[in-house]
Symmetry: C2
Subunit: 449 residues, 2 copies
């Protein structure tokens, strides 16, 4: 569990101490950038909305050293708003982290995982150098950080519950930003906002997303004439692909209105109106019987409390010899989503452990026949997304300001780091009824050229 109520009183005492220091110390005052010998975008950002503090004091420097020490003395230099630089002893810094305001230090001390994201997003913090590499080091630091910091982070809120109406709210938060934005950096034409499959890491994003769809269809043993139900279909790319390349009929459910509109338009344009039906509804309202159940990148938004119910939906919709596949982000062991991602990017999201997922399968005695972990494939997918996002920055800027762009960059870079450092996993799970003996004798058919 993420909540550790017992730690709360201890934490609030520490918090009061820190806030006490702050009250006795300095008022926030104007940012003195002249002392900050920086240039380019970092300076632009730091001269933005958040300027304003006096020269750094001994106490400020002590707090920064405490922060760095608590993170295990990583290879970072911290450059304060007045240009003073603090580097852990004996360390060759790989990255310069520019802090534009005094209270950013307090916030980072209290909850680095949550506050760093907001401070970076607002431009109060700037990172010079490779953002992904910095975040990878950050993930490692947080994994090994001191007790106090862990107690403080334990104050985190619980994710928003995924009731029927809650799911709609949580999904709209992220997916209804606007199709045009996602079109700038997702694969075309399928628009898959989920991990691609790079059997050859030199593949383009488009090639890898097509390879992912074939991989999924082969794992499901898709045959012409079969019926498929898809739970959480995004912009509907997989449903169209299955109908077009495997001759199946698909009913695809999604609660995000803009995505469903897009999916319907594209299916009509591709002449797939007969074989693909997009239904703007929750997976819990799936009706009918199907040869195949598939769900790509939805489980993260379902919430473990609903897993048993999801299993029940699959149990009542899957035919006796049917196959099912769930593709989801996951964890090696139970932990909350990064609190900043959970708060700002994906409300209600929980990447589950395999143990947690068993609540989907065990009550209905589903038989798991194949699990593959594609962790590094998601890192590579995200690298493509981030590169395309940066390549299209001018177009993004024409629609959105920095308060949208900076958190989005951080979210993509941070997700790469989460996958490369092994904090996040990507599981594809294939399962069927326990008595289905019409199983392939090997997985070799997945790897035929």
């Amino acid at each position: 569990m993420c909540h550790k109520g017992r730690a709360a009183s201890k934490i609030s005492r520490i918090e009061r101490q820190i806030r006490g220091y702050r009250m006795n110390d300095h008022k926030l005052d104007a940012l003195n950038l002249s002392a900050l010998n920086r240039q380019g975008s970092a300076r632009q950002t730091l001269t933005g909305a958040h300027a304003g503090t006096g020269p750094a004091t001994d106490f400020d420097r002590w707090l920064v050293r405490t922060l760095l020490n608590n993170l295990g003395d990583p290879p970072f230099s911290i450059v304060l708003w007045d240009g003073q630089t603090i580097t852990p002893p004996g360390v060759t810094p790989q990255t310069r982290v520019l802090i534009g305001k005094r209270n950013a230090i307090y916030k980072l001390l209290i909850d680095p995982e949550l506050e760093f994201g907001d401070l970076y997003s607002s431009g109060t913090i700037e990172v010079e150098g490779d953002l992904v590499r910095f975040l990878e080091t950050g993930y490692d630091c947080l994994a090994g950080r001191g007790k106090i910091s862990r107690w403080l982070s334990a104050l985190r809120r619980r994710p928003r519950a995924n009731t029927l109406s809650g799911s709609r709210h949580n999904t709209q938060h992220h997916y209804d930003i606007g199709n045009a934005f996602y079109e700038l950096w997702l694969d075309k034409p399928a628009m898959q906002y989920s991990c691609a499959y790079f059997p050859d890491p030199a593949m383009s994003l488009e090639e890898a997303q097509v390879a992912k769809m074939h991989h999924v269809c082969r794992k499901l043993g898709l045959r012409s004439g079969q019926t498929v139900v898809e739970a959480g279909c995004g912009w509907g790319g997989l449903a169209r692909f299955m109908a077009k390349h495997y001759g199946v009929t698909v009913k695809a459910y999604n609660i995000a209105h803009e995505q469903v509109t897009y999916a319907r338009e594209h299916a009509a344009r591709e002449g797939l109106g007969e074989s693909v039906e997009y239904i703007e509804d929750d997976y819990r309202n799936i009706r009918g019987n199907y040869d195949v159940f598939v769900s790509i990148g939805m489980l993260e938004h379902v919430g473990p409390e609903q897993y048993r119910e999801l299993g029940g939906v699959i149990d009542r919709t899957l035919k006796d010899r049917g196959f099912a596949l769930i593709h989801t982000m996951g964890r090696n062991r139970e932990m909350c989503m990064n609190p900043w991602i959970e708060k700002r990017i994906f409300p209600g999201a929980i990447p589950p452990t395999l143990r947690q997922m068993m609540d989907i399968f065990e009550p209905w005695a589903f038989s798991i026949i194949d699990i593959e972990n594609l962790r590094l494939h998601y890192a590579k997918t995200l690298e493509h997304w981030l590169a395309r996002f940066e390549d299209h920055l001018d177009e993004v800027r024409s629609q959105y300001d920095e308060s949208f762009i900076r958190p989005w960059r951080l979210y993509l870079a941070g997700s790469i780091a989460a996958f490369t450092t092994g904090s996040l996993q990507l599981f594809q799970i294939v399962f069927t009824r326990p008595k289905n003996n019409e199983l392939p004798w090997s997985r070799a058919h997945l790897y035929k050229p």
Copy 2:
């Protein structure tokens, strides 16, 4: 949990009722086989040690009908000791089950899963026709059987604990029967008493066991010069194969004395004394650091209470970029081993669910990268074993009597049924350290010719 103490008082009341009927009914008396118009081995068996009951009464017939009804009226005819035959209404019987003694009916009513095995083993029950098909139907019946029968079966004992000394006792029970017996029907020369791999179901047992070893070695990414530790090495076939074909050095642990002796002799004979070391000791005493950890068919005997400790052994022995593989029987959901198998064949054995297995991985944040379910491969392996066992029956008879042969046949046939009906699974799980990014980009290398 398997124990359902709450049901115990209700069950003992029902048992008293049944025993009460029995006391008021008949004393056990001589078996009248003249009325049983049967011939061959069935008759031979039934005339054996357990002859002796009077003509079947109305009450006997009512009990048999109750038994059949409780099993869902399967396609069996029950032939009683006096030749009277009872078939469920409207059913075309596929199998004739001959019951040689009155008290066998009571025993089957109380706990069919436990008692059937003993009654068949002693020859009190004979099955005419395809034993495997009969047991498959039996598994289906037991899965769907009535409440009373389930309450009664719930009285089952807990498996024997796998403490260090308990493990030795449990293992000796099964594996020290004598190497000569296993040599009659296992693959040569590796002698693998575990599921083979039949990418082509027409493969011979030898071909499939070699394919299994290659499959395991490829999943582990075995490279020349690496060090391997094997927990529970049986007769040591995989260790010799790895050293010979992949150029690795292996330390292989086993607590079964006769197996270790056999393994050492064969390694010396094959000139592998330098590269393979067999250690007669418990997996908990594994020392050293290795590139690879492998365990084939041991986990069933470890017991879920020890899984965390097993994970700790792997954690302290596996190098940073090491890979590990566990190959084990398993379940879709938690249930005890068939009580007869547990009592007579494999004391202490528990085929775990994937959820239970997470106690091995989660405490150490091991990252699962591949799970494959080879359920039907074990059914096919067992079919080969049973066929070879029957082919070598004369040689078996020269060493063992029917009280050994009949339970062994039942165990092999029943295991086939358990796998074909989906009661048992066979999982191969590959895992590594969470930060190991030296992962193959696909599993295609497992399927290269």
